[in-house]
């Protein structure tokens, strides 16, 4: 860690991709260090990104820790800072500090079946786990990805998901039927039920809108998944990233330090303040 944890490192935007257009647009950014190297991270960790003059925002790192050359972030345009991100061009320099928070215990899951269940922009926080697992495909048994968007235009990482099909099961869904859509139509929790995943020797990792997570977990429980087998990440408003500014706490835990990754066994005992 640097001496001054609040002082960001400079990073250059090397690549920008439009994932989703429209009012809730999502763009993916790859950033590279301007000087030296960036910090190492683990799956599920976040970084505080700055646009100087606009402010900072905590964003989960969407690239695999195995990739050291750059870090990838997918950012939905929702407010002041994220809108500024959507105005960036390749070559622009931003600030980055981190990594923050805990991580998915990926190493503990070796030899298990992995189910990833994502919705909307909730694919980004679990994407490093998916890509790491795929990169270390031999370590894991079956890998299944459920992912849904409101419409087909809201599906992010479209080409990457298609590529995944080579080595993992990918089930895409959209909320309402559309012409030309071959995947599942309906909400993600239902899509999961539809495929009836087996809880045996399995871990389920879910991320998405709170309401989706809630029903996914209910359904997983119904399917026989134990609370310890279900992992999710939560996001709360953060400013410092180091457990001092006081706003991201859920009970005694600062999400930026103890989170954002929780097993449902842990999370269900925390107050519902997220």
């Amino acid at each position: 860690m640097p001496d001054n944890i609040y002082l960001p490192q400079l990073a250059r935007v090397a690549y920008i991709k439009d994932e989703v257009y429209g009012e809730r647009a999502i763009k993916t950014f790859r950033v590279e260090p301007v000087d030296g190297k960036l910090f190492d991270h683990e799956c599920g960790q976040c970084a505080m990104l700055s646009i100087f003059g606009r402010g900072e925002s905590m964003i989960s790192i969407a690239s695999s820790p195995l990739i050291r050359e750059y870090k990838q972030f997918s950012i939905m345009k929702v407010g002041r800072v994220s809108s500024a991100f959507h105005e960036l061009e390749v070559g622009d320099v931003i600030g980055i500090r981190g990594p923050y928070g805990n991580s998915f215990p990926v190493d503990d899951w070796r030899g298990k079946n992995l189910y990833f269940i994502g919705g909307g922009c909730g694919l980004a926080p679990i994407w490093p786990v998916i890509t790491t697992a795929v990169a270390q495909r031999d370590y894991f048994k079956n890998i299944t990805v459920f992912y849904g968007g409101r419409t087909s235009r809201d599906i992010m990482y479209r080409t990457e998901l298609e590529k995944l099909r080579d080595s993992v099961d990918v089930h895409l869904s959209i909320d309402k039927a559309e012409e030309g859509w071959e995947g599942y139509c309906g909400f993600v929790p239902a899509a999961v039920m539809d495929k009836d995943p087996n809880p045996g020797n399995a871990i389920a990792i879910t991320c998405g809108p709170p309401i989706m997570i809630k029903f996914v977990i209910q359904n997983l429980n119904k399917l026989g998944f134990k609370d310890e087998q279900i992992y999710t990440t939560i996001e709360n408003k953060m400013k410092c990233g180091i457990g001092k500014c006081g706003r991201c706490n859920v009970g005694k835990d600062y999400v930026c330090v103890k989170g954002p990754v929780y097993s449902w066994a842990e999370l269900k005992h925390l107050p519902e303040e997220y």
Binding site: E23, V78, G79, S83, A84
Partner: protein, 343 residues
């Protein structure tokens, strides 16, 4: 004299009959003598209500909160809400209704006349108690009587009364459904704007020294704004600690919120905040004095509001909270408004 039991009986009665769903009044707090806002819904609790010289809160603030809460729940008000209101508070209610914040029939105003008195100013009282805290305060004619650990302390009301009460021109809730106490409109213990005049006389040419000192001291805790029934905006234009987000709110709109001032509590930003607040209260402030009372660092906020009130009165003949249908100060004009300052 106001018979407290009458107020309690009325509240109990109305609650029991379902004529009001809540009575907002005052009850004894747990810190010394001070009253605190009470929200009585159970007729059995009506006897909690008190009326004494520490009933300073302008409870109309909670009518605003109530409406916001109902709007949040998407509920209709149903039975009206009862509220104990002094003269200044009742005028605040009038301004709120003038601004369509709620309808007349949604509120049942249980008026209480301040008669020949007013509420205590804790800052004036403190030196009289030699560091002791009073556990009770009551009206007694021209005196306030305080109970302290050292016994009873009787003080002439005008010595410890809030300036605004001394200067009050209309210590009677003209707008009411029911009123307790005599209408002593016109009684003034001090002339209107006396504190303002004192300030102007004393500060003379050195206003800036005075004000810059106070502007430096503001910690922007926003208590003045939070306690003010007129500061009911969902988002404050100057410095927002909240912003309304609906499904219609675009990311762009959120990104483009104007930052008129910075979050730092520095002098220039504090001035812009406090001045804007004074401008926005012009013609709306009914001089309930809550902002100044709430201020933890004693910034004399009331002077700013008083100044605006006096200008509006003298230049435009405007009296805030005079009538529900009346025009608001800055949305109206008279052909003969003074214009001699214009070149």
């Amino acid at each position: 004299m106001i018979n407290l039991q009458d107020i309690r009986d009325t509240a109990r009665d109305m609650l029991a009959k379902g004529e009001v769903r809540t009575v907002i009044g005052y009850r004894r707090g747990t810190r010394g003598m001070l009253a605190e806002p009470a929200f009585i819904t159970d007729p059995a609790q009506a006897d909690d209500l008190v009326w004494n010289p520490t009933c300073f809160h302008n409870l109309s603030l909670y009518l605003v909160e109530d409406r916001k809460f109902l709007a949040h729940l998407r509920q209709n008000p149903g039975a009206p809400i009862g509220i104990v209101a002094k003269g200044c508070d009742a005028r605040s209610i009038v301004v709120l209704m003038q601004e369509h914040y709620f309808k007349r029939e949604d509120v049942y105003i249980i008026g209480v006349s301040c008669e020949g008195t007013g509420v205590v100013d804790e800052r004036k009282l403190a030196p009289h108690l030699n560091g002791f805290q009073a556990s009770d305060a009551v009206f007694d004619g021209d005196d306030f009587v305080f109970t302290t650990a050292q016994g009873e302390k009787r003080l002439p009301a005008r010595e410890v009364m809030a300036d605004r009460c001394l200067e009050c021109r209309i210590p009677f809730p003209k707008e009411h459904n029911l009123v307790f106490g005599e209408d002593k409109t016109g009684r003034q213990l001090a002339e209107p704007f006396a504190a303002l005049k004192r300030f102007e006389a004393q500060e003379g040419g050195d206003r800036w020294n005075f004000w810059s000192h106070h502007f430096d001291r503001c910690i922007r805790c926003f208590a003045c704004r939070s306690v003010c029934p007129m500061c009911y905006c969902d988002e404050c234009v100057v410095d927002s600690i909240t912003f309304p987000v609906t499904s219609e709110t675009s990311a762009e709109e959120k990104a483009n919120r104007i930052r008129w001032i910075e979050r730092s509590a520095t002098r220039s930003e504090n001035i812009t905040y406090l001045m804007t607040r004074a401008m926005h209260l012009a013609g709306r402030c009914t001089d309930c004095g809550e902002c100044e009372r709430a201020c933890p660092v004693n910034v004399p906020i009331r002077l700013l509001n008083n100044k605006m009130e006096r200008e509006a009165r003298e230049k435009f003949g405007f009296e805030p909270g005079a009538s529900i249908g009346g025009p608001s100060l800055v949305a109206s004009f008279l052909d003969n408004d003074p214009g001699d300052f214009i070149r």
